[in-house]
């Protein structure tokens, strides 16, 4: 069996086994579908609402990605400021930790009130707020722990700080950055859904979940959960693919 085939086949088989066990469990326990829907309940939900799933799924996806892009931009900027300046690190770190500790579910109603009606903006904002922290921390740690010799080999030649950043500091920080991005992508996704569920406005998979709840359509709710999981996996593996391209050398080094 070729390695690529194996890479696809093994997880696929695992998913199938998981679905069979799930179906068997629901059947064996005799659970009604409002307690626990089974995979066989999901197919009808998908076929009935497939158009909604596509539209809502896309809305969830683009708002998550936009929030994440914002988190990357702000996270890298904050990380650079904290990584290069001790004073800024000492000043900003407690603030960031405090901000990160606030449960975002409590921020959702505040944001919804602050920007009434701006649904897309609010959702992107929550996705961003929940996900920039790991990126900022990883970039700042990556930059501040750069061994002085790395800096010196270029500085001794008269290289500017900018050159040192692009040639050494940035690439050297990429593995940490992608490690954080894998956490952030999931967090951003949670942020988007949080806004969609807590403060629903008829858009996104979260709103679809909410409508399933009000209509007591339990298979639909489970179908949304699975759709969310699929989207989450999709986003996560995009990050993994990017990591391969831009920081693949770190993997080789570990091997």
């Amino acid at each position: 069996m070729s390695p690529t085939l194996r890479k696809i086949l093994v997880p696929t088989i695992a998913v199938i086994i998981f679905l069979i066990l799930w179906e068997a469990l629901v059947w064996a326990m005799g659970w009604p579908n409002y307690k626990m829907a089974s995979p066989s309940d999901l197919m009808p939900a998908y076929s009935r609402y497939w158009e909604l799933f596509l539209v809502m799924g896309w809305q969830t996806l683009w708002r998550t990605i936009l929030g994440l892009l914002l988190a990357i931009a702000v996270g890298i900027a904050l990380g650079m400021v904290m990584g290069f300046s001790r004073t800024m690190r000492d000043a900003l770190y407690p603030l960031l930790v405090g901000f990160n500790a606030i449960p975002k579910a409590t921020v959702v109603p505040i944001v919804a009130l602050m920007f009434v009606g701006a649904h897309d903006f609010n959702t992107v904002l929550i996705a961003f707020m929940i996900s920039f922290f790991p990126i900022a921390v990883s970039v700042s740690i990556g930059l501040s722990t750069l061994e002085p010799e790395y800096r010196d080999i270029l500085r001794a030649l008269g290289a500017s700080q900018t050159t040192i950043f692009w040639k050494i500091a940035l690439p050297k920080t990429l593995p940490e950055f992608f490690g954080a991005l894998k956490v952030s992508v999931t967090l951003a996704f949670i942020g988007t859904n949080l806004m969609e569920i807590v403060s629903p406005h008829g858009r996104g998979l979260g709103a679809l979940f909410d409508s399933g709840k009000t209509n007591s359509d339990y298979p639909l709710m489970f179908a949304v959960l699975i759709a969310l999981a699929v989207l989450g996996i999709f986003l996560y593996y995009i990050v993994v693919a990017l990591e391969r391209v831009f920081a693949g050398w770190a993997e080789r080094q570990a091997a």
Partner: protein, 264 residues
């Protein structure tokens, strides 16, 4: 002839939370063009600080550092450095690592000429065929060889080596000593070698400077000029043993194990 590297009464202290830490005080050093000066001294006495002063990465609190008669006021691209840690960039191949200084230094070789230069250096140190490997695929000794090539690729006037062989096993180290002599014959540079290995200082240096304990001054200078390129066997002659004994004695003084008066 004026010396290429000259330090006069250099003093330097690091500012720390608990006040200034004096590291060098009254350090003199002078290396002629083409010379190779080995510097030994007790651990933590300020040897790395000395290299950073010569490279222009630090400016002394007092005293002067001259390169070619010019006062050193900052980094200059006529310097090449290698450290105990080879600090190769893992995301670049060996060849790309060696090319790095040429991307920085203004007016350096570019394109095919740069690659030719890097390749010929790599083959000089015995790394032919490893150009496209990643640093992690090389042994410690090979990485140090690559690091040496990177320090030399832009044809620096001054090569500064801060314990480059310190982390290597004895056999690899002796191999690299011989490589150093081979490189020295092909590449015109003036060298400063920091080391804690007295044999190494005698094998490579035509002058061995012993620094005192911190704050360090120049305690002793041994003239080690030789008429021919030394072989490893030369390290075991009675003459070498005598020089080794002198250096060991000086180090013991520097470490404070023997009072200075006892020698005079």
């Amino acid at each position: 002839m004026a010396p290429l590297i000259e330090l006069n009464h250099v003093r330097h202290a690091y500012a720390t939370a608990s006040g200034p830490v004096p590291v060098l005080d009254g350090l003199d050093l002078s290396v002629n063009e083409g010379g190779f000066c080995a510097v030994v001294g007790p651990s933590g006495c300020g040897k790395s600080t000395l290299t950073r002063l010569i490279a222009g990465l630090l400016i002394p609190d007092a005293g002067e550092v001259f390169l070619h008669g010019d006062r050193v006021r900052g980094p200059r691209s006529t310097v090449g450095m290698a450290f105990q840690n080879p600090v190769l960039l893992e995301w670049r191949t060996i060849l790309q690592n060696v090319l790095l200084p040429l991307e920085i230094v203004p007016g350096a070789l570019k394109g095919a000429a740069a690659i030719d230069r890097a390749r010929s250096l790599l083959s000089l140190v015995g790394l032919e065929g490893f150009e496209d490997k990643r640093p992690s695929e090389l042994s410690g000794g090979m990485r140090q060889r690559a690091s040496l090539c990177r320090a030399l690729v832009h044809q620096p006037e001054v090569l500064i080596l801060d314990e480059p062989f310190g982390a290597l096993d004895a056999f690899t180290r002796e191999d690299l000593w011989q490589t150093m002599h081979e490189v020295k014959e092909k590449e015109p540079f003036t060298g400063i070698l920091i080391t804690h290995d007295l044999r190494e200082s005698l094998f490579l240096g035509d002058q061995v400077v012993v620094l005192s304990g911190r704050p360090a001054h120049t305690q002793f200078v041994l003239d080690n000029t030789r008429s021919h390129r030394p072989t490893l066997d030369d390290l075991y002659t009675p003459e070498a043993a005598e020089r080794l004994a002198i250096l060991r004695h000086q180090i013991e003084i520097a470490q404070g194990r023997i009072p200075q008066e006892a020698t005079t």
